[in-house]
Amino acid sequence: MTAPLRDAVSLGGNAPVMSPDTIRQVPDGVPARMLSYQEAIREALREEMRRDPAVFLMGEDIAKHGGAFGVTRTLFDEFGAERVRNTPISENTIVGAATGAALVGMRPVAEIMFVDFSGLAMDQIATQAAKIRFMTGGQCSVPWVLRMPQGGGAGKSTAAQHSQSLEVWFAHIPGLKVVLPSTPYDAKGLMKAAIRDDNPVVFLEQKLLYSFKGLVPEAEYVLPLSRCGVKRYGTDVTVVASGYMVWHAMLAAEILAPEGISVEVVDVCTVAPLDEETIGASARKTGRVVAVAEACRQYGPANEWAMVAMERAWNELKAPVVRVAGRNSPVPFANSIENGAWPGTDDVVGAIRSAMAGRRPGA
């Protein structure tokens, strides 16, 4: 480690406090510093705006105010009102204007304040931007990034319209790429990749992770899109997770290690297109799979990952694939019922034990 361990974070609910050193992505000896997830995204935006004059930001309250979560704070001071552009509250036109600008050579990074508001823009996201290259026979491309904070957390009480986890809304649409990073390192490297990519990229930012810190190299780097990352190597069971759930998976792995259960954690940091190969390879190696997503259980992302594991590793599977997911419910306000809306570390631990025992949870 080149920086002291600090800024440990509680995952809330039933989770113990964990440290940023849990996921190590920067090798020893590589100059790095601790950045928060939010700072890492901001640094990626700043670097890309300096590198390419075609990159600009547009969204509600993103200029001097810095956005609802402060991600774009200070960028206005460097780049001004032209390139850090406040918009009217017009989500569909924010996205559609980004598409129009992208069609003529710009690389807009648009922001929708909460992913919950993306319903207002869904025509432009799913029916226009995602399809225009295809339906024009490749005459054009749409190189935009759409940043949207998503997710909720126990004790936050942000209720039903500011807490959803909606990656499947976008991942279902061919033509879109969907990113959901779990660490500052991934957030920076994937944001830079998303901006340079020639496709519309929906970049989902996990709100609970904004303040979470991790090592980010001093030197510039860009990560590949459309890949899963293996965050922990193991031999007995594969946990497939994304975003905040990766941290529950990592905690569960630490809890079970003393029992001799070796857990591999596959981070679906790009939700779509899905890197089926990495999930399949891990499933074939361990023979047991637990799929964990915070989004609602019904038709959720964990279902897709479980299916991929079965399609690609059926002959090697030693146990039924186990699914862990958010409750099929709008997110409630009161803590007593908000708790339990999303999976916690205990749920992942229980699911891993089920997989190890070769049975379905509760069976």
């Binding site: 129009g100 600008a101 069609l103 710009m106 024009t136 490749g138 496709n199 297109p273």
Partner: protein, 325 residues
């Protein structure tokens, strides 16, 4: 670009207007015939009767200005200079079409002649044009973006959001609202309190101009002024062309919602006949030379049909092409 007041003195511009209007009409008649004979799949929304609107606007544009089309954009593309061979091939779903058979009638877009795409969700092209205009402004380019919508499009969120954003940022957009009176079967007057749609511009602090959409010269004159204003950095204009949809919403539609007498009344206003009369009376053109143009365009459409029929549909192995860049 000739100033509008001089247009009657500019034979080349007048002839090109006439050619494009006739080309649209003949293309649409050919497309309708193909559809009625079952040779054209899907659906066809024709631009018959509205030729003066698209041609008047697009003749005021440069090649590097951009239009955003709709489900009813055969006419817009031809008006902007698209090749009818590749358009016809697209109608037949051929690899030789503009969109390589992936788009069809509702999504014909010729990017090489200045298109942002033809988007078949009503008014969805509005935000695209706003964004393209924003790019032009940021880069200091004097290009203009022109989204077409029908009357019904002016009741969508896209439209109102787009006008507000473009007005606020003073963007080089000419919003062309082609009031053909119907959204599918619904008369605009039945769903809109304001009957002069150009008044809606006032709500956004921009000029609203209303012209006779059967008069290509009137449309052209208004478009030249709006485009000049946009190009000079003075901001957007709403240009309403009062028009009429002579055909049904789509080819072969039963049209139970309107009287045949009403359609006949508008059919008598035919913008091509009207322009032709003007050319013959005021423009020093002979009937013979205009007849010759009609014949030439007819041959172009026949060539386009032959070209389209000769092409192949996309190879099944290419079904996943163009989803991602």
């Amino acid at each position: 670009m000739a100033a509008a007041r001089d247009v009657m003195a500019d034979r080349a511009v007048l002839l090109e207007m006439y050619r494009r209007m006739v080309r649209i009409r003949q293309f649409e008649l050919a497309a309708t015939n193909l559809f009625k004979r079952g040779q054209l799949k899907g659906t066809v929304h024709t631009y018959v009767g509205m030729e003066a609107s698209g041609v008047g606007v697009c003749m005021a544009l440069r090649r590097d200005d951009l239009i955003a089309g709709t489900h009813r954009s055969h006419g817009h593309n031809i008006a902007k200079g698209a090749d009818v061979k590749r358009m016809m091939a697209e109608l037949l779903g051929k690899e030789t079409g503009y969109c390589k058979g992936r788009g069809g009638s509702m999504h014909i877009a010729a990017f090489e002649t200045g298109s942002l795409g033809a988007l078949a969700v009503v008014a969805s092209g509005i935000p695209l044009a706003v964004g393209a205009a924003l790019a032009f402004q940021m880069r200091g380019e004097d290009r203009v973006a022109v989204p077409f919508t029908g009357d019904a499009g002016s009741n969508t969120g896209n439209w109102h959001e787009g006008l507000n954003m473009a007005a606020t940022w003073n963007l080089p957009v000419v919003f062309v609202l082609e009031n053909n009176q119907y959204g599918v079967s619904t008369r605009i007057d039945d769903v809109t309190k304001v009957h002069d749609l150009s008044l809606r511009a006032a709500g956004y602090g921009i000029p609203g101009v209303r012209v006779d959409g059967f008069d290509v010269l009137a449309v052209y004159e208004a478009a030249v002024a709006a485009v000049a204003r946009a190009r000079a950095g003075e901001g957007p204009t709403l240009l309403v062309t009062e028009s009429y949809r002579i055909d049904g919403h789509y080819a072969g539609e039963p049209e139970v919602y309107r009287d045949k007498a009403e359609v006949a009344e508008y059919r008598a206003k035919d913008p091509i006949t009207r322009f032709r009369s003007r050319l013959e009376s005021d423009g020093d053109f002979t009937a013979a030379e205009l007849d010759l143009i009609d014949v030439e365009i007819g041959a172009q459409i026949e060539d386009a049909l032959a070209f389209a029929r000769a092409g192949s549909e996309p190879d099944p192995s290419t079904a996943l092409d163009y989803i991602y860049a």
